[in-house]
Amino acid sequence: MANRQSIEYAKIKGVHDVPLEEFYTSGHRTCQGCESAATMRGFIKVAGPRTLVTGSTGCMYVANTSYMTTPWIVPWMHTQLGASGSSAIGMAAGLRALMRKGKIPDEEINTIAHCGDLGGGDMGLSAISGALQTDYDLLIIMNDNESAANTDIQATGLTTFGANTTFTPPGKRIHITQRRWKKNLAGMLAVGHPTCKYVATACATYPTLDYLRKVRRALAVGGPKFLHVYAPCPKGWDYHPRYSHDIGRMGVLSGLFPLFEILEGHVTYTHDARRQREPVEKFLMAQGRFAHLTKDDVRYIQKMVDEMWEEWDVPGVVPTKGSLKT
């Protein structure tokens, strides 16, 4: 590996440092205001052309990557709904073997797998866990639009409590059928994989540049990495596409979606919601999917969020309680 060609990235200090080149371009058919599409565009912009990408089934496949109109300038391959983790391992293992055995030139090539919250956070969890135990250089990016959006907005393990989805409609007898609390995914993956050096959460467009910097940071760290990206979805969350950025920002500022980075075990809050939290009500009431919630429901959600920031041992990350107080 002596003469290994590596990828050099300049630091993104301001918007002017963001590369102008696009590697995810026109051709996709995602909705206006789709933050999942912004997630795609962003990661490949900063990862650059020496990158292989796999994408698991979902909006970012079906609405995104159509035959003869692919938006991907870099090599891209579909992978199965639960296979983002295993596809990343496969690519990385293949490249490593071929380079070590001199069958292809030895150079740094990024391997990135993207998935949705159902494909990655529910079905593909085991494969992602497997990937995070390896020592391959790979990055898994999960765009969390809080539903199985591609199949017409069904609740997943990552959907916010109370949301109206096609599997969890409010009814005359039961007014909230989405009663599962959002899975603590990034925290679970970070805590569960002691040798994984980088797990972070982000929101595609808020705070400005944060997501892009996290992708770069992840790519600079050796081994497997996981990035959980909050991706507001105008269709599934039921708001006007022009508000995608605002909805993401409100989700973060309310503390409902914790924004942090865990680099070699050190937690840094991107937005420290222990100090400052906007009421969740503002965020909830801006979206049609929560229109049926009562004051009590909103209070319950607020209570859970407060608990996450005030009582969890590692706020927003580890839900055990009390061990630090004794």
Binding site: T70, P75, W76, A83, A97, I109
Partner: protein, 409 residues
């Protein structure tokens, strides 16, 4: 062709060893210089992965060995490694093979030449370790190459032939080598192991060429096509499976050229069939008691023979039709089930009968469901099957007759 500048022709066979079916496959994986292996445990195929991990630990094979979290991941890992141009190996048995089925199907539709060992095992429920062929049969319609081997020697050689066929530019299909659980995966035979140099003369480098995933070749693989294109793509897969028959013949011709004449017929092996009137046909190790029964019946003057099927996909339609058309009656041994199928027979019977359909003088075909869940098929079972098949030749209405052999009444 030997390299003219080579100082001395290398011996074709390097050594002889007592190996199980699984160990023989591991040796072949070493000889094929496989790049990525994905492992997950399930009896009986697992032994191949045990053996490969040791070869790697001992420095005899340079490969990435990934311990997967499930068969689904196992097969996705090799699929994607194959797409970046690595030669790959995986395998499974029974319910494990089924667990990864989604990934197997896309490997076929993506036309990636991964090679698998299927150590045939009964499907759950209820749990059973013994052989049954339904596991491997799960992939028969989706664009897989699929063959059954009967000895460790044949297993070793078919890994090499398998990569040769699967990776051929006109084929590029995944390949499953099936072997009977326990009866072959874990039974030891003497195996001749060829030298690495000889294998290199036979097996070219794997090259996906314009379809490989690499930054220098920026393509999109398997974008969403819907009704616009899926039919054309299915047609290409169909074409590949169809023309694989020609490539298989080529691959055996070349194999015979490099390794010495080892195979006369790539697709199936005939035993004492020249003047036979009645034959049994089956897949896998049942060939051994089948052939012994033939020898015993021949000794008392009966005109019987045995056909051991090797290739199941692509199905050797022409060759098998020409072969089987000359017999009066055929007994098919199905170590599988196809509940509710035509005549309620097994999978092999349906395929054999439809192969024979265009003939004017069709032999009578009867079916024996036998050896399920690893139950032994004895020589006397085979004798009894021969008797019934002989009887079917002269008894009207027996075509399509199905009998379960060795069933507790």
């Amino acid at each position: 062709m030997a390299n003219e500048r080579a100082p001395k022709a290398e011996a074709v066979w390097e050594r002889r060893d007592l190996l199980t079916g699984c160990q023989a496959v591991a040796e072949a994986v070493r000889l094929a210089d496989v790049d990525v292996i994905a492992a997950y445990p399930i009896r009986p195929y697992t032994e191949v992965m045990d053996a490969i991990s040791k070869l790697i630990a001992d420095g005899q094979l340079d490969a990435e060995y990934v311990i997967a979290d499930s068969e689904h991941s196992q097969f996705e890992i090799v699929k994607h490694a194959s797409s970046v141009n690595a030669r790959t190996f995986a395998g499974s048995s029974g319910t494990g093979w089924c667990y990864g089925l989604e990934a197997l199907v896309v490997t076929a539709t993506d036309r990636l030449p991964v090679l698998y060992l299927v150590g045939n095992r009964a499907l759950d429920d209820p749990g059973a370790f013994g052989v049954e062929h339904n596991d491997a049969m799960m992939v028969r319609d989706v664009g897989f190459l699929l063959c059954w081997v009967t000895t460790p020697q044949e297993a070793l050689e078919h890994v090499l032939i398998g990569y040769r066929v699967a990776e051929d530019k006109g084929v590029q299909m995944p390949m499953a080598i099936a072997m009977d659980g326990a009866f072959l995966t874990h039974s030891q035979h003497m195996v001749d192991i060829p030298s690495l140099g000889t294998v290199r003369r036979y097996l070219r480098r794997y090259d996906l060429s314009k379809r490989r995933m690499h930054p220098d070749n920026p393509i999109s693989i398997a974008p969403q096509v819907n009704e616009d294109w899926v039919m054309e793509l299915r047609r290409q897969n169909w074409e590949a499976a169809r023309s694989a028959r020609t490539v298989i013949k080529e691959a055996y011709r070349e194999f015979n050229g490099v390794f010495g004449d080892r195979y006369t017929n790539p697709f199936f092996t005939e035993f004492m069939t020249e003047d036979a009137e009645t034959i049994l046909i089956g897949l896998g190790t049942v060939a051994a008691p089948g052939r012994t029964a033939v020898t015993r019946l021949r000794a008392i003057g009966e005109k019987v023979g045995y056909v051991s099927m090797r290739w199941f996909r692509p199905f050797p339609t022409e060759e098998l039709r020409a072969c089987l058309g000359r017999f009066r009656s055929i007994g098919v041994i199905d170590r599988d089930f196809a509940h509710g199928s035509p005549d309620d027979g097994g999978i092999l019977m349906e395929e054999v009968r439809s192969t024979l359909y265009p003939l004017d003088n069709r032999p009578v075909v009867v079916d024996f469901i036998a050896g399920l869940g690893g139950r032994d098929i004895s020589i006397s079972d085979c004798m009894a099957m021969f008797r019934l098949t002989q009887q079917a030749a002269s008894q009207a209405g027996m075509d399509g007759f199905v009998k379960w052999i060795g069933l507790r009444e």
